[in-house]
Structures are given as structure tokens and as C-alpha cells.
Symmetry: C2
Subunit: 360 residues, 2 copies
């Protein structure tokens, strides 16, 4: 399997990527919403361009460093879905605004007030709402409507909409629970925007969605934009949630068996430095593609230790190569400088993970 690539290595199947990108663009088009993919999953301008060419209206970034790299590649419509704070970042934002349309999300008047002093045209802001993840934002309804009014009154700021991430949907136990959480992600924001309108503030953007919720929330009346990220690669978490299959996972870690200490124990040369600890402890949080009888037990920094089911003991001898499907594709891609890209089973190129490590 790809003998020209030494292991461990990040391998991306571009055929699967294209299918995933096209499918999500169709979901958006079918529901009449804009698609603004989060590029944190791939961190590569080449793949952001592919998403835009397939119909995305712009991109989402978490950090300025990511946005700057995407702007360097000519991408000019960026949502920075993170509260920006501090003079160095505000200076960088001002420079970024010279070459791209930039919106920023936030959840506090403090952050908005500093942004409002930037100068130039008003900063377009989306106010983040807590639809159940309990990370950023106030609850929907009156708490958020009051916050919107407070922020809208800040000079230099234009509140253009509401934004949420139903991150708690990742913990859904059934497809029904996932669908219900996703729909509420949309209806909570739409009803809050209606409350803002009654307060005299018209909001034109209702921005929602993650990969697991996108297909459900895109159909909620009033939603204007979905922001899935993981869908371009998918991962074992998406498989567990039922929104991906092994065949639709595109970013994998090619690894080699370097030890077989017991008949049932298989040790690969890829640990948390390639796969992260994200999701560890969940059943089959990392999968061995095509080897359903191997179950990941634990990772150390450079080792992945799996157990083989009875009936398969002694298989996968030292030297065997396998593709490990990560639990969380986004954080895995962040560990690699280079992705090896394959098409039709052949290695065709390398892509640089240009925004790797862009934490500021």
C-alpha cells in the first residue's frame, strides 16, 4: 500500500474529497442556504478553492493566522468565527480587511468595543449564541436579544446576524437525537432573530451548522448559511454519528505494524503525535480501514496498540501497512506539514498543510 510513502504519513484521497465537497454543496443548494465551510479541517488553500469552485460562498476560519494564509491565496470572503482580542490581532485584522471581506463573531460587548475602534467601515459582526454547547454565547431568546441590542449600539460595529455551533450534537446517541438537536440549532436562532427584529434590529444572517447537523439544519426556515468543516474528510466520529461511512473518510494515517508482542496485540508506528488523543475511550474511536476485527486499545505518543478479535490472532504481521481512520480529522491534519494525496489508488502529489499550527 503506497510503498513510496514512508510511515507514518497523512494520506488524503482526493476522489473522496471531491465527492464529499460536491455532496455538501448540493445540500446547501437544495435548501437555498449559503455554504461557508470551516477550513480548520484541511488548512490548505487548494482545498478551500475546491470548496469555493463547488459553490461555497466564502470560508470560515477560527484564527487570524488561518485567514491570512487563505487571503494570501486570493480568498476574499472570510468569517473569523472567534472573538479577537488585543492590539496585535486588531492590527492584523485591519490589514486583512484591506484585502478581504471579513466578518467576525463574538459574544461580548468588551470584544465588540475594541473592534469598533478599528476605524474604516463598520466591522460586520455575528453574535454567537449558546444553543446548548455551553462554550460561548448567551442562551437564545431574551438574553441574546439584549446582548445584540447592546452590541449594536457600539460605534463602529454592525451586527449582521447570529451564529452558533451545536457542538453538543457530537454527543448524540441516536440519529433522532442528532436531528432534533440540529433542528433546534436553527429554530433557536431564527426565533431569537425575530425577537431582535421586534426590538428594531433586523439581522440578515443566521449562520449555523457543523458536519453532523448541516443536513438537518439547512432545511430550517430562516437559516441563511451553514458552516460544516469536517465533511471534506470525515472521520471515525462522523462514522459513529452515522453521517459518514468508511468509504467517505478521506484523510487517514498510513502506518506500519512494528511489533506483534502477543498473538492478539498489534502495535502501529503512529501514536498521538499523528492521531491525537481526541475521542480516546470511545469504542472504535480510531479505526483500521478494512480491518474491522482490529480494535484500537490505546495510543502513546508514537505507538497505537490494537487488539485483534479471536479468529484473527496472528494476522497483521510486523511490516503490515494499514490506513488508520482518525477520530478527529481536523486536529490530525494540524500535526502534519505535508499531506500525500492519492487519486484512483495512485499517489499523485503532496500538499502543504499551509495553516498548520496557526493558533494565533
Amino acid at each position: 500500500m503506497y510503498p513510496e510513502i514512508d510511515t507514518p504519513a497523512l494520506v488524503i484521497d482526493l476522489d473522496v474529497v471531491r465527492t464529499n465537497v460536491t455532496e455538501m454543496a448540493k445540500v446547501a443548494a437544495r435548501n437555498g442556504v449559503r455554504l461557508r465551510p470551516h477550513i480548520k479541517t484541511h488548512k490548505m488553500p487548494e482545498l478551500a478553492r475546491m470548496q469555493l469552485e463547488a459553490g461555497a460562498s466564502g470560508i470560515t476560519c477560527a484564527k487570524l493566522g488561518e485567514a491570512e494564509i487563505m487571503a494570501d491565496a486570493g480568498i476574499d470572503d472570510i468569517l473569523l468565527a472567534f472573538p479577537l482580542w488585543g492590539e496585535p490581532k486588531l492590527r492584523r485584522l485591519a490589514a486583512l480587511r484591506e484585502r478581504a471581506r471579513v466578518r467576525v463573531s463574538l459574544d461580548s460587548p468588551d470584544v465588540a468595543a475594541a473592534l469598533g475602534r478599528l476605524g474604516g467601515p463598520p466591522v460586520e459582526v455575528l453574535v454567537e449564541v449558546d444553543t446548548g454547547q455551553h462554550r460561548l454565547g448567551r442562551p437564545p431568546g431574551r438574553p441574546t436579544a439584549d446582548l445584540v441590542a447592546e452590541i449594536a449600539a457600539i460605534p463602529g460595529i454592525e451586527v449582521v446576524g447570529l451564529l452558533t455551533l451545536a457542538g453538543h450534537a457530537y454527543h448524540s446517541r441516536t440519529p433522532g437525537e442528532l436531528a432534533a438537536t440540529a433542528r433546534r440549532e436553527g429554530t433557536d436562532l431564527v426565533s431569537t432573530a425575530e425577537m431582535c427584529a421586534r426590538d428594531g434590529i433586523e439581522l440578515r444572517e443566521i449562520s449555523v451548522g457543523s458536519t453532523p447537523t448541516a443536513r438537518h439544519v439547512a432545511g430550517v426556515a430562516g437559516v441563511t448559511e451553514i458552516r460544516p468543516g469536517t465533511y471534506i474528510f470525515n472521520d471515525a466520529s462522523m462514522m459513529r454519528l452515522g453521517v459518514a461511512t468508511e468509504a467517505t473518510t478521506a484523510a487517514r494515517v498510513l502506518a506500519t505494524v512494528i511489533a506483534r508482542p502477543t498473538p492478539e496485540r498489534v502495535v502501529f508506528d503512529a501514536g498521538t503525535k499523528c492521531l491525537t488523543s481526541d475521542g480516546s475511550g470511545s469504542p472504535d474511536w480510531i479505526r483500521v480501514a478494512g480491518v474491522p476485527y482490529a480494535h484500537m486499545e490505546f495510543l502513546n505518543e508514537e505507538h497505537a496498540v490494537a487488539q485483534l478479535e479471536p479468529g484473527h490472532h496472528g494476522e497483521l504481521p510486523v511490516g503490515t501497512r494499514a490506513m488508520l481512520i482518525p477520530s478527529h480529522a481536523c486536529s490530525v491534519v494540524n500535526l502534519f506539514d505535508i499531506a500525500h494525496c492519492v487519486e484512483d489508488g495512485q499517489v499523485i502529489t503532496e500538499l502543504r498543510v499551509a495553516a498548520r499550527g496557526a493558533v494565533r
Copy 2:
């Protein structure tokens, strides 16, 4: 706090580093064992040199890529504590052996046989023993003694000793349990080496130890070498095990509060892309230095969400800077290109994390 550094950022306190390095060198000297620190924790040749100047006899690396970077910096005594497999790696090992004394650990005749075909002087090998971590190696005693005999018979290979990592010691619940596990790490290897001697194979190296077990196992008669890594920086895991205090943690993530959605919830601008998911779920797996009433709840990729105890609600307003003590220093350092180094409370230099991402 360090206003010249934008957040999030990796900050290393060199005063604490020097103390930690000196203390462990004393532990080794006092017990008459050699110290071969694992450089995976810092990944920086400058700090490896500091360890050698303080008395270390050589270094330990997990991956060839790390070893090559250390050899580039003139370090010439390297233990590669990982089974090497495949032609590209064997070619690199041959080149590395031209400029450094290199030992390799492994746990299978398959891996040893390939190494034995390298040519040149025999490859010095340490056979890895499973003292309870259940990762690599066979159990101590007869299973390992038989393996040693089998590997020693392979042309081109010289078995010089036994090696183990009592990784299960990280799960110790009490200091007594930790000490007992550590001592057994040593006695298991020593008694196995005695069995090998009775079989006619004299082993001169008994290489053990991690940061939590080092102080205990260094005193076991027959142990020749300890290989702690984390001690140079320490982390919240070492604090939980009672082998470090907040004052002896040297590698921290400087972060800024970017949201205060509720009186008790504090959100920092550093998530798993800076701190990893290692250890998540353990109580106080990540600590806010000097803020004992803040308790980390969960991380997402770019967010750390902490809760304040009653009586402290409303503290840490947006813009507050804090030092986050990671759960696992080694994997955190691997996420950064640059470490900001401080001495006596002043930022004095930057060091490049030269072996970041060296997974091959």
C-alpha cells in the same frame, strides 16, 4: 504578563528548566546510574545540550527524525527507543551510525533480522520488556530470556541489554503504588538479565525509568541507566502523581480570556491545538497557574472552557492573561514551532522546536 508575546504561545521558564535538569542529574549520580534523558519532551538541541552538560551520558529519541536533528547539533550518543522497520529507515539508520553511536530497542526477531543486514559493526540492541504497560515486549523472566537468546543468535546483532518503560506507573493512585511499580520495573529487568546470564548471555545495560519512576528505580541494584523525559518541564500529570509542583512546571501555554459568557464560565484562546486532549477527563488535568479556583471543564480546538468556584464568579475578565499548565508537556511542545523562553520573569529568547513533527 509578558505583553510582548501574543497569545496563545508556548512559554518556557529556563530557571525552572535548569533546576529540574540539575535535580535529575543528582538523582542519577547519587544512585550511580547513567542518565539518558528522552528528548521527546523538549525536541530542542539546545536543551539536550544542557542535559548533557549537567551530566547526562547520552540521549534517548523515539524517532529517527528526532535523532537526525540531534546528531545535526553534534550529539553523538543516541538510543533510538523504537523498533525500526523498512528500507528508508534502515538507510537513514546506516547514515546516522556514521556520525553517532546509536543503539536501538526492539521486541521481535523480525525487526532484529532486518537490522542485522545493515552491514558494518554489529547493531547494538536493547530488548524491550513488558513490565506491565502491555505495549511492547514480552513479560520478564523466561519469555524475555528466550527472546533474548533468539535475537542474540541473529547475525549482525549484539544484544547489549534490556529496556522497559513502566508506562502503567502513570496510572498510580498513591505514592506507595507508584514506588512499588517503579521498583518492580527495575527488579523485573535485573532478574531477567540474571536468567539470561545463566543462559550464557551477559547483558551490560539495564535501562529503565520514566519521570515518575526514575527516583525510585534508580536505586534498584543492577539498574545501569534511567531515561526520564518529562522531568525537564513537568506538567499537570506529574503534579497529580506527586512528583512535581506548580513551581517546578516549566512549559506552559500563555493564554488570554476571550469570553465570559456567564459569571462562572471563563473561555481562553487556547484549545487542543495548543494543549492536546491528553489526560482530558481527569480532575484538573490542565491547571491555571496561580488560579486554583479555576477548573478546566473541556477543550475544543481553539477554546479552553474553565469554571470558577463560587466566591470567585466574575473574576478573570475578558483580556486577562494566564499561564495554562498542560496535562502532558511532550505532546504540547510538539504543537509549536517556537518556544518563548523566560528567565527571572523576563522574555529573553526564542527557541525553535527543531524536532516538532518528527514522526518518521
